[in-house]
């Protein structure tokens, strides 16, 4: 039978996913042996035009990483969806917005003002801003894609068949996912690949007892006992509300989980779940004292939705 045709694409992301894809090591060669990569602008000589020319559904699998931030991201997402039989959201950004989606806590205008006017090194007396169309020389115009108000996950733009979470997905898990897809024996659409059913706690070897919090510590404020559950010691850890798969990598160096593998199965809003969990283990019954304890979590939104803002129920800051 013919080799499966694979496309890889990045949108608003850092490139880490593709590095991760390469962390499968020599197996990348197996991949290349097992499949024809028909579109990989990062790596290969194919153009948008060629992509547009491809017949619908002619690509077997598209691994799409990165969030949707610009009109170009959106256009390519739709184009690739049309050309691909299977669309895979690869990595946190494509799956749930990732770090770029923290921008949903601010506005396009604020971003522009900051980047092109406010920062101390910016020198822009004319108040220039990047333009979607700008005339150069005699009548020629340079174009830039539009910068959307909100950052969206891939599934919020097109239908997504599978997702591979993680920022960045761990090499071995990537290979698992790719192998599953290549095997042709595919799980139910909507499934998450390259991750487990349980949460990070399942892979974390810090010992757990009961949790009664009288004070929260920010990671730099405390010398934690490396053998004990960090949450128990008052350090916010997203592990309990985060899908296993990374092997509790951050915890192995005594750093708390920040939730990049997204919520476990059945959980839509990762932040709401960790919020309810954390709120339930406060060892105080006095509103004032509770307030003081909670002040130890200075940035609930940015902490609980560090990677999943686009998938959060509230999605973005409300403007009134």
């Amino acid at each position: 039978m013919a080799k499966p045709q694979i496309a890889l694409y990045w949108a608003a992301s850092c490139g880490g996913c593709e590095i991760a894809a390469l962390d499968i090591g020599e197996r990348v060669l197996d991949l290349i042996a097992a499949a024809d990569i028909v579109f990989w602008p990062a790596a290969m000589d194919v153009k948008y035009a060629d992509l547009e020319a491809m017949p619908e559904q002619s690509i077997d699998v598209c691994l799409f990483n990165g969030a949707i931030r610009t009109s170009e991201n959106e256009h390519l997402a739709k184009l690739l969806r049309a050309k691909s039989k299977i669309m895979v959201a690869f990595g946190s950004c494509a799956t749930e917005g990732g770090i770029p989606a923290l921008a949903n806590l601010t506005t396009r205008e604020a971003i522009m003002r900051n980047a092109y006017q406010a920062t101390p090194t910016t020198d822009n007396p004319e108040g220039l801003r990047p333009q979607m169309e700008h005339a150069v020389l005699d009548g020629h115009t340079l174009t830039l894609p539009e910068f959307h108000e909100s950052v969206r996950a891939l599934h919020q733009i097109v239908r997504v068949d599978y997702s591979v979470p993680g920022c960045a997905p761990v090499g071995d898990r990537v290979w698992e996912a790719v192998a599953t897809i290549l095997s042709g024996d595919l799980p139910a659409p909507g499934s998450v690949l390259g991750a487990a059913q349980k949460t990070v706690c399942d892979e974390c070897d810090h010992k757990r007892n009961e949790k009664r919090i009288r004070k929260f510590y920010r990671p730099h404020e405390i010398e934690t006992d490396p053998t004990l559950c960090l949450l128990e010691q008052g350090v916010i850890c997203m592990g309990p509300a985060t899908r296993a798969g990374c092997g509790a990598a951050c915890l192995r160096v005594n750093m708390p989980c920040r939730g990049c593998y997204g919520p476990p199965p059945g959980v839509v809003d990762q932040g709401a779940h960790i919020l309810s969990a954390v709120g339930s283990i406060i060892d105080s019954q006095d509103p004032q004292e509770i307030e003081e304890i909670m002040a130890g979590i200075p940035d609930p939104a940015g902490t609980f939705y560090r990677f999943s803002m686009s998938n959060s129920l509230l999605f973005r800051v409300r403007e009134r």
Partner: protein, 161 residues
């Protein structure tokens, strides 16, 4: 909490001009009532034939501590303009300490909502005993008016942008 008050003052500031605009607006409010105190209080309001606005849709749970922040966010996302969580008075929880857990979660949730630009008045926690039918009616009436003043949350439209 600083963020809260800032949002608060903001919403108050806005209340005036928007008042007429929202005069006809009927807020939709979800009320999570615990079985033992606030639910019974709501029943008492009924037995006493008290009158309060129909904008509140009651949902009965065993204890206010069952109310996951997730439910509240879902309600707002699905179209509620406000959410009321009512439980037993501190010390009276049928399940010993459930309402204190509710309290702590609520305080954390308020700070989260503030970061998303949602006025604190939209999500309200009240202690209502089985004997406080009048208080229930009053809370519901107040809350309906407050939210009418704030105007629709209109979350869907926010998300589309």
């Amino acid at each position: 909490m600083a963020t809260d008050t800032s949002v608060q003052t903001q919403s108050r500031a806005q209340a005036a001009p928007t008042e007429e605009r929202h005069a006809t607006f009927e807020p939709s409010i979800v009320a999570f009532l615990c079985k033992w105190c606030s639910g019974a209080g709501a029943d008492l309001a009924g037995t006493g034939r008290l009158r309060y606005p129909p904008n509140v849709m009651p949902i009965r749970v065993m204890c206010s501590s069952r109310v996951d922040a997730n439910f509240i966010l879902h309600a707002l996302r699905d179209g509620a303009d406000g959410v009321l969580v009512a439980g037993c008075h501190p010390g009276d929880c049928h399940y010993i300490s459930g309402n204190y857990k509710t309290l702590a979660r609520y305080q954390l949730l308020q700070r989260l909502l503030a970061q998303f630009g949602i006025e604190p008045e939209r999500v309200r926690l009240e202690w209502i005993s089985a004997s406080e039918g009048r208080k229930f009616a009053q809370v519901v009436t107040e809350m309906t008016e407050t939210i009418r003043r704030l105007g629709p949350l209109n979350w869907k439209a926010q998300v589309e942008r």
